[in-house]
Amino acid sequence: MLTVPPAAPTVDRLNPWGVHAARILQVHAEIPDVVTYELEFHDPAVRARYRFQPGQFNMLYLPGIGEAAISLSSDPGRPERLWHTVRAVGNVTRALARRTAGDQVLVRGPFGSSWPLEKCRGHDLVIAAGGLGLAPLRPVLYHLAGHRSEYGSVTLLYGARRPRALLYTSEYDVWRAAGIDVLTTVDLGDDAWQGNIGVVPAMVERLPLEPARTWVFTCGPEIMMRFVIFAVLARRVSPRDVYLSLERNMNCAVGFCGHCQLGPAFICKHGPVFSYEQMRPYLDIEDF
């Protein structure tokens, strides 16, 4: 059964088109074409009211250019500053790439569903991410690092095409120090790379795990998520305990515009985070 999260306190239930002005505090270069924007709302009242759950997204708006749905990649425990990791790839994100610290961005949000961090408390957690798919999972890692004793073993499996395409490399040791196993892999190494070569699903196959107490969160290219899910189901993890975050064209963010549908789901409204059990019938259908 698909569920719809309630309206956020920073979105007017009776006018979800309303935007709040925010300022870019910092632009942090991550990997080629990818930067993280640190945003802060102008209005202290909005800043005080704003809360988000790991996995949710904001609509970032540049007047005259348009809006883009970008997941939150900062610590949900520090909602006064918002991080968005963005690849300059479309109309809006390329225009955003020309903005610098001090510039204004308009924001609607947060929207969407979140990773089930409450429900999986006390369990082991495998987080499998590919490429930019680590961005919507970074709030999960921050939460886990801050509440480590509430969970069993936590493993991050993260892959990218090339070593220089791995995101957030400076934070891996911080997460390790907090008790999170961080394992990385690349499709293609370079002269300096001494780590794993191969795809994330192959790491899942080799990972020691106890299926009955393991929950899985995955985000990345759909093909990667599909094989991660096959691999964990083959290890007898329950499809109810496997969660994924899906990407579709999100235009309105509130289920009015119809763009982001996948079967019965509006990705913006019922998702982007779903249990595999909810979406299983629709994930393998070509062009659906």
């Binding site: 002005a21 007047p63 204004q104 235009n251 119809g258 549908q261 062009d287």
Partner: protein, 391 residues
């Protein structure tokens, strides 16, 4: 004429309005401040448009409809409302094809969101059919009944006045009887008109309707008139059931009908069936079906700036799942083929809509059949898929 006496007419009361006095109803609505909309002939079709005089109504005009066909004909015996539904629906007014959702003005280095403009006058629509009242209830679920409310839709919807009409004729494309959405106007109207030979039997459906008629001197309907007004759409419904169940040659033109038994699982359980490819070979992906559909709600927001670039409007325009860019992602469109897009439309309309909104997205109005340039008929496509999967 009204003698100034104020009457409190209960909801459910029936008044008898002689046809030559129909203008009085229109005048009452206009005096009450409504922008009055009703059926009018334009460019060879009956569309909704501004209605100032009942002389603009399509008296004596019928619409012959079939797959990919729409023709107006004259019939001296035809009344004001013996046509059925044209390409427009309530959607054109409540969820207009283009609407500003947000305006912004540049101030220094930043932008200032502007307060919403004052709403336009309230709208009264005359001649709304049962299928379109159901379609309105379907769109209400999309725009009003989720965690967020669309403010423009809500403002127009709350102030809307609906003068509905009970159909006494059906086109060959109508299948409201099989969707249980007509032809009798159920509820959710302010007034409902039933066209009799020389008069309208007018049923009051809401306090708003009662208030509007508080000063009229129209007599109550006789018991016989009420009986006739109730029986007329029931007779049509029985006739539709009889004729759509009859064999092809029995009583042409045979009305459509849609067997909705297990339809959700039929469609979502056959997403990879080769039948989608067969439809795709005929479908032009022109999006006509989605534009005329009274429940289709897909849209896109466009940015429009004035020449200085300092005033920006965010305009919501109708979109369609038949457009390639509708499913666009940075990695390309999700639904590249026409087969994928037709499958999206039909499975959404008839199946996943039920998951999303607890109702079918189809109200049996038949517009998508009439206005499809190649006459693709969703009732036939569902029946064909059913046959193909049953054998």
């Amino acid at each position: 004429m009204p003698d100034g006496t104020i009457r409190k007419l209960p909801v459910g009361a029936w008044l008898s309005l002689e046809k030559p006095r129909l203008q009085e109803l229109l005048d009452l609505l206009r005096q009450a401040g409504y922008r009055t909309i009703g059926p009018r002939v334009a460019d060879g079709a009956i569309v909704y448009d501004e209605l100032e005089s009942v002389a603009q109504l399509p008296l004596g005009i019928l619409d012959e409809q079939d797959g990919g066909q729409y023709r107006l004909t004259s019939d001296p015996k035809a009344g004001y409302f013996d046509h059925v539904v044209g390409p427009h629906s309530l959607k054109n007014y409540l969820f207009p094809p283009r609407e500003t959702v947000q305006e912004l003005v540049q101030l220094g280095a930043g932008w200032e969101p502007q307060p919403p403009p004052p709403p336009g006058p309230p709208i009264a629509v005359i001649g709304v059919r049962a299928c379109d009242l159901h379609a309105l209830a379907v769109q209400d679920r999309v725009f009003l009944e989720g965690p967020y409310v669309d403010p423009g839709y809500q403002s127009r919807r709350e102030r809307l006045f609906l003068a509905a009409v009970n159909c006494r004729r059906a086109a060959a494309t109508c299948f409201c009887h099989s969707m249980r959405t007509g032809p009798a106007v159920p509820s959710g109207f302010d007034l409902a008109l039933t066209e009799l030979d020389d008069r309208f039997a007018l049923e009051i459906g809401s306090a708003k309707g009662s208030e509007l008629l508080a000063r009229v001197d129209w007599p109550p309907c006789t018991r016989a008139e009420i009986e006739q007004a109730r029986e007329q759409p029931r007779n049509l419904e029985r006739e539709l059931h009889r004729r759509s169940a009859a064999s092809e040659s029995a009583d042409p033109p045979r009305p459509r009908s849609l067997d909705t038994t297990g339809i959700r699982d039929l469609l979502l359980g056959n997403l990879t069936h080769p039948h989608w490819q067969q439809v795709a070979e005929r479908c032009l992906s022109c999006a006509n079906c989605t534009l005329v559909c009274p429940t289709c709600f897909c849209s896109s927001v466009e940015e429009t700036a004035d020449l200085t670039g300092e005033h920006v409007r965010r305009e919501r325009v109708w979109s369609s799942c038949f457009n390639l860019e509708h499913s666009h992602l940075s990695s390309g469109a999700v639904r590249n083929s026409i087969a994928a897009r037709y499958r999206q439309w039909l499975t959404h309309k008839l199946a996943s809509w039920i998951d999303q909104f607890g109702t079918s997205g189809c109200v049996g109005c038949g517009r998508c059949i009439t206005w499809c340039p190649v006459g693709i008929d969703l009732t036939e496509e569902v029946a064909a898929l059913r046959r193909a999967t049953e054998c």
